[in-house]
Structure formats: C-alpha cells, structure tokens
C-alpha cells in the first residue's frame, strides 16, 4: 500500500482525511484509485480532458514526477505520494473563493463573504 498525502484544501472532498491509502504500481494507478474512492475530488485535480491541473504537482516521496516518469512513475510499497497545489494565503487575504460547485464563475474572483 502507498499513502497519498492530501493537502488541506482538498480534504473536504476525501472525507476530511489527511492521507488516503491505495494499492498501486504507478502514480497513475494510485490517482485513479483515489478518484474512484472519492469522485468529488476528481475535478479539482484533473481537467475535463483528464489532464492533471497545472497548479497541482505530484511527488513520489520527495521527487517531482515531472522529473521522473510523470504519471508512469513506479510506486513501491510504503512510498508516499504528495499532492501539492499552489496556495496563496499570506498577508491579509482570504485566498480564493470556490464557485465551481454550482456554476463556474467567470466574473467573480473573490467572494466577499469568505471569513477574512
């Protein structure tokens, strides 16, 4: 089994877990297993065409898969897969607001009702 580390912004889509265990031989298989178990997380990680979103990086242990064999990178027993999305919270901000649940927002960038 390998462990997939789930970043905070995505934990709500995987039953609030910080890690999900999967049985897989490659990164692609591991991610398929994740998405099969937790379909709600799919669209935050992948485009409609099935490509990993550009602001999400995947690591096997501490190596970026872009510099290994990408999604064909082999995963062994006990390996960790990390999903690392870009986050921007810092000085004062509320970060970005979700709108995609109901309808993708084309004109709204930040929802003012988010707790600052």
């Amino acid at each position: 089994m390998s462990k997939i580390h789930i970043p905070t912004p995505l934990r709500q889509y995987v039953g609030k877990q910080a890690t999900v265990e999967v049985s897989a031989a490659t990164v692609a298989e591991a991610m398929d297993a994740l998405v099969a178990k937790h379909p709600d997380v799919r669209r935050h990680l992948y485009t409609d065409e099935g490509k990993l979103r550009a602001f999400v990086n995947l690591y096997v242990n501490d190596e970026d898969i872009r510099y290994l064999q990408k999604e064909a990178t082999a995963v062994s027993e006990g390996d960790s897969i990390s999903i690392v999305p870009s986050i921007a919270g810092g000085a004062a901000g509320t970060g970005d607001c979700e709108t995609a649940e109901l309808k993708p927002a084309t004109t709204m960038r930040r929802c003012a009702c988010c707790p600052a």
Partner: protein, 388 residues
C-alpha cells in the same frame, strides 16, 4: 555557501555591539556577520500575517535597511494574527503601525515604507534598491509578479504561503535555483481553488512561516547554513509535521530557463484570468434588502429563509434560517418548496447570490438574495446579532 550580499564596509557603534552581543559571540555570526546584516537591504511585500513576524525579527536581528510595501489599513479582524499591529492601530495605515513597532524595537533601522500596491509598473524599480525580497502576499497575481520581478532583477525571493493550518516555504529566484514558475507554471483559474467559505487561518500559522522566511533571509545574508533553495518545505501545524520536497530549476521555465520568453513584467491579473474589478457581483439575481425581509417576517408573511453558510458559521450566529450549506444545495434541493417565497442568505451576500442563480436555473421562480447577508442584518436590523 557564498553570501548573496555585496559587502559594503559598515561599522557597529558601541551600542550596537552591546545590542547584538548574542549574535556576536557566536562564531557563525560574529562582527563580520553582524556587519553583513547591517549592510543588507530586505524588502517585505506586505505588513500582514506573514509580514508581521518577518519584519519584527529582521529588525531585531539588525538588518540595516528594511523596505515594506503595503497600501492597507489595520482591520479589527487582523489582530488575531498580524502581531505587529495592536488594537489601538485599528483604522491606521499598516505602514504607520508597523513603522512605530519596528523603530521601537530597533532605532538603528533604516526603514523605507512604500504606500502603494505592488504592480508591473513599479516592481522592477522598487526591487532594484534591495538585496532580498520576502514575499508575504495573499493572492496569485502578486505572487507571480514578485517572482518574475525577482528573476528579472536578480534578487532572491524568500517565499512563504499559508492556508488554514498548512504552509509552504522556500527560496526562489537565486541564480542557480528554481523560481516559483518552475514549481507552478500556471495559476489556478479563478473559481477552481477550493473553498475559502471554510477558510480562515490558524492565527499562529503566519507566525510560524513568517519566522521561517526571516530565518532564510538571514541565512542568505550571512552565507551560513543550508537555505531552502531547491527545497519546498511543507508545514502541517496540526500534525506538527514538516516534510520536504525537492524542487528543480526547469530549463524550459519561461522566466528563469535557458531560453526565457518572459523578459518583462506582464499583466498578472490577465494571466490569472481575472477580468476587471475584484468584487462580488450579484450577476443580476433578484435581491431583497434586510429591512424588507424584517418587515415581511414581522408581518408573518409566508417567507422561507434559506441559510447557505457552513454549520460552524450557523453556530456563531443565525436568524433561524433553514441551513443547507452551498455545496450541499444541489443534493438537497428537494428539501425546498418552489411554491413558497424563498429568501437566501449567507454571510455577506456572495454565496447566496450563487445559490439564487442555481435555484433559478432549477426552476424556482420566487427566490431572492438577501443583499449584504447576515452581516447587513446585524448592522441595520438587529445589532444583537454578532458580526464575524
């Protein structure tokens, strides 16, 4: 590793020698190191969550010149984490508040304040006068702006970012190291990064990450230790776990690669997919004002109040509405009776506007958005309802 700072001979007065004695007695710092700190010029972007501890510790450590860029005013809700500001500073410019505390800690500090929003028009000019930039900003367009400006001016970018109780830290844009775009070539499109309706941030978190940024800046200045160049530190404050991932410089990076295609600053709002002003837009959904809702409820009209906030917000305050969090609305729409007048509210009117748009598409004809949300209700109808 070699220091990134060109050494300008500076001297330390007797007072300074006493002040920094705990640095001076360490061979890793010593007189030479303290002089390097005094000669160094660090620019902090933001005097907020990350900027507060960052600036405070750099000032205390004896960094000679600190620049701060911030156009904002201290807000009451900032006090939970922006520890450079006090209650008495609410309403003041963050720069003024920060300046008082920083000079209070270290009168030897040469403080330069920039009351402006960092932009493609001013970034290159600003960065040229400093040796290191510390990025403590809170939005994607500025992060890409800071990164690109750092690469173009050859200044290291001491990076930190946070979300709820997780953080990231690294050092980007050194000559041989990766830049932010090597890690994240593209920002998330607006509307796709997960919810900040459940956002918020653990007050201590920017403290943890901000001091890491200060640490990295000091290490770069002194030329000691192993900086976070080529390393992404992931901080999980809840588990108190620290993990590290390897970052590589991308030879095809458009800004720091071998054949850069970005050689000047761009329109970062456009790059991040933002058009025009960032403010909540009702998108033409029908609205009702809080006074009108109050009138109808008092008259015992048949109005169904739907609250689309999260359960923990409902616990803070509520006006007795039926709670269906926005995310759950599609699944639970059968709980609503489309023959009734429905007024939808959230905290400030943004999420509820989306809910109204959704319900209209689902065939509901008698829905209105409560303009300004429960905050407006607290402000204008019932002051006993707390604001948050």
């Amino acid at each position: 590793m070699a220091s990134t700072i060109t050494e300008i001979p500076v001297t330390l007065s007797k007072d300074e020698i006493l002040r920094y004695s705990r640095h001076l007695i360490m061979p890793e710092v010593g007189m030479e190191g303290q002089q390097k700190l005094k000669a160094a010029r660090v620019l902090c972007i933001g005097a907020g969550g990350l900027g507060s501890p960052l600036a405070l510790y750099l000032a205390a450590a004896g960094v000679g010149t600190l620049g701060i860029v911030d156009f904002d005013v201290v807000d009451y809700t900032n006090l939970q984490r922006q520890i450079i500001h006090s209650t008495a500073d609410v309403g003041r410019k963050k720069l003024d508040s920060a300046a008082d505390k920083l000079k209070g800690i270290n009168p030897f500090l040469n403080l330069r304040t920039f009351d402006t929003r960092l932009s493609s028009d001013n970034a290159l000019q600003l960065f040229r006068d400093f040796d290191i930039v510390a990025d403590g900003t809170d939005n994607f367009p500025t992060r890409y702006l800071v990164n690109d400006a750092c690469v173009l001016t050859g200044k290291p970018n001491v990076y930190g970012s946070i979300f709820r109780f997780e953080g990231q830290a690294s050092v980007f844009a050194t000559k041989d190291g990766p830049c932010y775009r090597c890690l994240y070539p593209e920002p998330p499109p607006p509307g796709l990064v997960p919810s900040c309706a459940e956002g918020g941030v653990l007050g201590i978190l920017p403290g943890l990450v901000g001091v890491m940024q200060a640490t990295e800046a000091i290490k770069l200045i002194l030329g000691i230790g192993e900086p976070l160049v080529g390393r992404l530190l992931l901080i999980d404050a809840l588990g108190m776990k620290f993990r590290e991932l390897k970052l590589r410089k991308n030879p095809d990076c458009p800004v720091c690669g071998t054949h850069p295609t970005i050689t000047k600053l761009i329109d970062y709002n456009e790059f991040c997919g933002i058009r025009g002003e960032e403010k909540p837009v009702a998108n033409g959904v029908p609205e009702i004002q809080v006074e009108e809702l109050k009138r109808r409820l008092d008259a015992k009209d048949d109005v169904f109040v739907l609250d689309v906030r999260e359960p923990h917000e409902y616990q803070i305050c509520n006006i007795g509405g039926h709670l269906i969090p926005l995310n759950d609305l599609p699944k639970r729409v059968s709980e609503l009776d489309s023959s009734r007048e429905i007024v939808v509210h959230c905290k400030m009117g943004g999420r509820s506007a989306k809910a109204v748009a959704f319900l209209q598409q689902a065939g509901f004809k008698k829905v209105h958005n409560l303009a300004g949300g429960i905050n407006a209700w607290a402000e204008r109808v019932d002051p006993t309802v707390p604001k948050y």
